[in-house]
Amino acid sequence: MVDVIPGLVALCLEAPATHLQIAPVERAVLGQVVHLNPATGEIWYVGEDAKIQKIPQPPDPYRSSFANQAWRLMNAYEAIISVPGTAGEIAREGILSAIQRLAAEETKGRPGPSNK
């Protein structure tokens, strides 16, 4: 106990200086991290309070996998539509690309028109 308590005291004494050091970093990176979990549709982004915000997705409403995946991606797009900065743009482009890929795969999987 005598060993450890001075470590806790010393750490607390560093808090004011540490707080000043991390503040500029906090402002600089706000809104620059956006991630989508494709498995769950959950979106993580850094909010204005500098904490990770999670946007959960509601249960799938459709019967087909394609419809549910497309719906999930559109929800994801809506959720981050106002995320500012490059990270927001990249995330939105990524979701649009995912929708395109999904549509292409769905088209490929269907029987095409007959040549006869």
């Binding site: 993580w44 850094v46 904490k51």
Partner: protein
Amino acid sequence: MALIMNTTEIESALVNFEMNYPTLCQRVALPEKTHDGRSCHALRIAKNYDPERPAVLILGGVHAREWGGPDIVVNFAGDVLRAYANGKGLQYGNKIFSANEAKTIVETITVYVFPCVNPDGVEFSHTTTPMWRKNRNPARFNGHPDSVGVDINRNYDFLWDYKTCFHPQAWNDSLASDNPLKYQFHGDAPFSEPETRNVKWLMDNIPKLTLFLDLHSYTGDVLYSWGDDKNQSVDRTQNFMNPAYNGKRGMSDDAYREYISAADQQIAVSLATVTRDAIAAAQGRPYAAIQAFGLYARLEQATITRLVGTLLIPVCQRHSLLPWNSISRATQKIRFWLPGIP
């Protein structure tokens, strides 16, 4: 008087602090009762509390059998309050803090202590099974006494789904387990346990949370972030939030490294060093200031596996699965793991 405080004594110590120093500290009631129905409290230490001040959060009693943690946290709070109230400094062996330093803590920052995160487990360890580590969640009880409980320190949502997030070769019981019989059982879902939800609630509701320290007992190290892989400061995309790196974390000899900015790395190392040096100055006990991921590597090399247990009160360490979800890597709040059984 018992040598180690039981859970009732820990709670009553906080009540006494609040009664004796009403202008310096207040208890904070946590929202969740434990499985055995216990109410939990933290203590906020600050003269003329101002939410704009930087805050420090210190936890103890996460792992039941690490008996030293709650006592250390309670005594730390008592020492600081008593020193400030009497206008005195603090001395631990050869380490001396001035009265002005005690004043700095009470007047310029806010300190939150949560001495006993897992009181059910601590009580069970004190009275029944000394080596008990988990909480006392009965949900998965199957007749075997070890099937009770969840490891609180594996129940946060930082990379909780370890079989998805980590490389298969990194899976081991030290990392986490989905087997309720294991001491590292991570629960049925992140934040499935009231104890972890209490910690999350605290972190979510503390303004300007700047530093976090979780006190465990094992070998004697001061650990800093990150704990899932080695640190690097070049590639931001290699981070725990990026599912593109699922299945690649936790290996020391591959390409994946966890991102930390160079500035934050410097802060983390500096804080760990300051903490280590203050500990060493007291009585000369050598602690190591290392990245949390280093614990795994050393354990694997030394095969220390279960030396744990006995109440080597002082401190140890724990790998650093970051214990909560809501502090962003963007803010890079620094966290340490003093002790902890791996």
